[in-house]
């Protein structure tokens, strides 16, 4: 029975049209991802046109000159090279120099500067002064700063201890490998998720709308399993198609993009990107986390739209609700977070995970301290599942006399 429900879904014209458009969007996203990596060659020329495709791999090759542990010696070498250049050209070095040297170590130098200060804007301004600092003790400065962060954000002894434990897991010295592709792809995966929650919500809602849209409900609900197994199968079809479409989409996006720009740096610590994040993970794990959160967001979107459609017998609300749940909340979430910490738990958190990973949001109930991201993931995974029986109840309890969409 499920097989026929799935067949019905994929044979639908709307499904075909939307999935084709979605695929097109994914291809555009791949293009954007590849296009967002810049590379300047040793002559100071930035790669353009079709050769741009090679930027990711060439950049990684250059940067990987520095791979391995970022020892104080290595950092000193980098900081001094940069300092000299800045001196030589009064702060405005030419593109040739950028292509030859700066490009390969810029990320490392910025990270080094950030180890001295958690203020990322100051870290940027101070990059040419890293050489003047006590690089021999850079990791000491970094651990001190981490300790300060733990004290600042841990408002109770339990929280402070929790933060110290998390920070304690950071491997020092940090092991470096070029990771630009993961950084780029985390951003583009989020763009994909931004679209997929809408597309998936709409398609899943369609599964519960089509009987009413086509006036086929009377045949459906008078069939033997029309109020039992057939409805369960519809719900299953919703969950399965959500899963297939989401993972196929992000699979295509990842395969093409990583295939072109390379996947160097899976194991590079995320801390190089965000030195004071208490999520001690690698770049690859960060990408995986983004994908999983996007999947939960898509499931939630599907559950909510299926539920509303099963209740209202129309798609109309189903299209706008994911939009409010995610996109509008992203916009009002930021000002809202000034007022209430509830904004840490709204569904939009799931689709802007990269921003959340940088923020030290921790909470405490009793003695249990928990972090925002895992909590939100579990919360909405549960909400998505809890909604399913309600979808069943709404749909299978159909009464034609109360049908809101009946044209009489």
């Amino acid at each position: 029975m499920l097989k026929f429900e799935m067949k019905k879904f994929f044979l639908k014209m709307t499904t075909k049209v939307i999935l084709t458009a979605f695929l097109l969007v994914i291809v555009i996203l791949c293009f954007m991802a590849v296009d967002s990596v810049h590379y300047t060659d040793t002559d100071g020329n930035e790669l353009t046109g079709i050769s741009r495709a090679a930027a990711g791999r060439r950049l990684a090759a250059d940067e990987n000159k520095w791979k391995g542990e970022l020892t104080p010696e290595k950092i000193t070498e980098i900081a001094e090279s940069y300092h000299e250049l800045m001196q030589q050209y009064q702060g405005d070095y030419p593109a040739v120099e950028y292509g030859r040297t700066v490009q390969s170590y810029w990320e490392i130098l910025y990270f080094a500067s950030e180890m001295f200060t958690p203020d990322y804007i100051r870290a940027l301004e101070d990059m040419d002064r890293v050489a003047e600092k006590d690089i021999a003790h850079i990791y000491g400065a970094y651990t001190d700063n981490l300790k300060n962060m733990a004290q600042e954000y841990g408002t109770t002894p339990e929280q402070e201890k929790f933060l110290e434990e998390q920070y304690g897991q950071i491997q020092i010295p940090v092991t470096y490998k070029a990771f630009d592709s993961w950084d780029t792809m985390a951003t583009h995966a989020e763009m994909y998720i931004l679209i997929s929650v809408i597309v998936i919500g709409f398609l899943a809602a369609g599964i519960f709308d089509e009987e009413f849209r086509n006036h086929a409900e009377l045949v459906f609900f008078t069939a033997k399993y029309g109020r039992s197994k057939a409805v369960i199968n519809k719900i299953a079809a919703g969950v399965i198609t959500t899963t297939i479409i989401y993972w196929a989409g992000i699979g295509i996006l990842s395969l093409i993009s990583f295939g072109i720009i390379g996947w160097s740096g899976f194991n590079t610590p995320y801390q190089i990107t965000a030195p004071y994040s208490f999520y001690v993970i690698t770049q690859g794990q960060r990408y995986f986390l983004t994908m999983v959160c996007g999947y939960i967001a898509s499931l939630l979107s599907a559950s909510v739209t299926m539920f509303i459609t099963a209740k209202m017998h129309t798609l109309k609300a189903a299209v706008v609700i994911p939009f409010f749940m995610y996109h509008v909340l992203i916009f009002i979430g930021r000002p809202l977070s000034e007022v209430t910490s509830l904004s840490c738990f709204t569904p939009n958190v799931l689709i802007e995970i990269d921003r959340q990973l940088r923020h030290p949001h921790i909470f405490q109930i009793g003695n249990v301290v928990f972090r925002q991201v895992p909590f939100v993931m579990v919360l909405y995974a549960i909400v998505s599942i809890i909604l399913l029986p309600f979808i069943f109840r709404s749909y299978s309890g159909y009464d034609s006399a109360k049908n809101l969409r009946r044209k009489s």
Partner: protein, 295 residues
């Protein structure tokens, strides 16, 4: 096998769509006749357990059909008046889907599908998209889907709407074939659809059954005779005002009218054998069905 209505009513707001109906049905063909808005569809949706009666009870062999649920729906085949389907599916995909929600195994469903499409004359179109079918073809698929589970109770709401005259005749024969060992309830406002195939006629008006019985009983009970008289063209209106008038036929030198009246409406009036159609005209005050339906 007994389907019974006990004081069944359905109210929409202040309007009774079905008003205190009590009736019992067994195997055989039941023709439900009534004008637009009489409550036929409402009655049928209640019988198919998709509309709950406001008051009263519907039972199958003594059990409430809403409580029987799945077990009752397993016996049911229903062609709704406003028969809708999934436009992007092919005829066979559509049938296989309906078979699946009716709990028929794919292997059995395939066999059944073949038989049914042959029966409704659509074997050639099994791979055609549902949306590419003509209205009449779609309705035939509708009948076929209702038959998929070999139902004990077959409910057809205006099954002949949209069928062409030859299709109508085919359809009538089909129903007679299907009727064996089944309860068939079919609604229409076209008398000829049920005249020869329905063992029981139910006349429904404003939510009530006001006649139930055989076609012969209905005709015998008419309190008027049927007359055929030829009048001048300019007199037609006058007769129309005065009597219920059935067929109007233009002939040389005037117009032939089929008139219902206790007394002869004119000197040259000839007594005719009354038919079901005349009873319909008498009781509903309007002509049964539309002109092109008269075959």
């Amino acid at each position: 096998m007994e389907l019974r209505f006990k004081n069944v009513s359905k109210k929409y707001g202040e309007v009774f769509a079905v008003n205190d109906v009590s009736y019992s049905m067994e195997t055989g063909v039941y023709g439900l006749l009534g004008v637009n808005g009489a409550g036929k569809t409402t009655l049928m949706t209640m019988l198919c357990a998709v509309t709950r009666p406001t008051t009263g009870e519907i039972t199958w062999d003594g059990n409430d059909i809403f409580k029987l649920g799945e077990r009752y729906r397993d016996l049911l085949g229903y062609l709704p008046q406003n028969f809708g389907f999934y436009p992007d599916l092919s005829v066979s995909d559509y049938m296989m889907y309906i078979a699946s929600i009716k709990g028929i195994r794919p292997a059995a469903a395939k066999k059944r599908l073949k038989e049914l499409l042959e029966m409704v004359g659509l074997s050639k179109y099994r791979d055609r998209k549902m949306k590419a079918l003509s209205g009449g073809m779609a309705r035939r698929v509708g009948i076929a889907q209702a038959m998929l589970n070999d139902p004990k109770i077959l409910v057809l709401d205006e099954p002949t709407a949209g069928l062409d005259p030859s299709e109508r005749i085919r359809f009538r024969n089909l129903i007679s074939e299907l009727a064996a060992d089944r309860l068939v309830l079919l609604s229409t406002h076209i008398v000829s659809d049920v005249e020869f195939i329905a063992e029981q006629i139910i006349l429904m008006k404003a939510g009530k059954f006001f006649f139930t019985g055989t076609s012969d009983e209905l005709i015998a009970g008419m309190e008027a005779d049927v007359w055929n008289c030829k009048v001048f063209g300019n007199k037609v209106n006058e007769y129309m005002q005065k009597y219920p008038v059935g067929n109007v036929k233009h002939v040389s030198g005037g117009v032939e009218l089929r008139i219902l009246s206790k007394t002869p409406p004119s000197e040259n009036a000839v007594r005719e054998v009354p038919a079901l159609e005349d009873a319909f005209l008498l009781y509903f005050g309007e002509k049964a069905g539309d002109e092109d339906a008269e075959i």
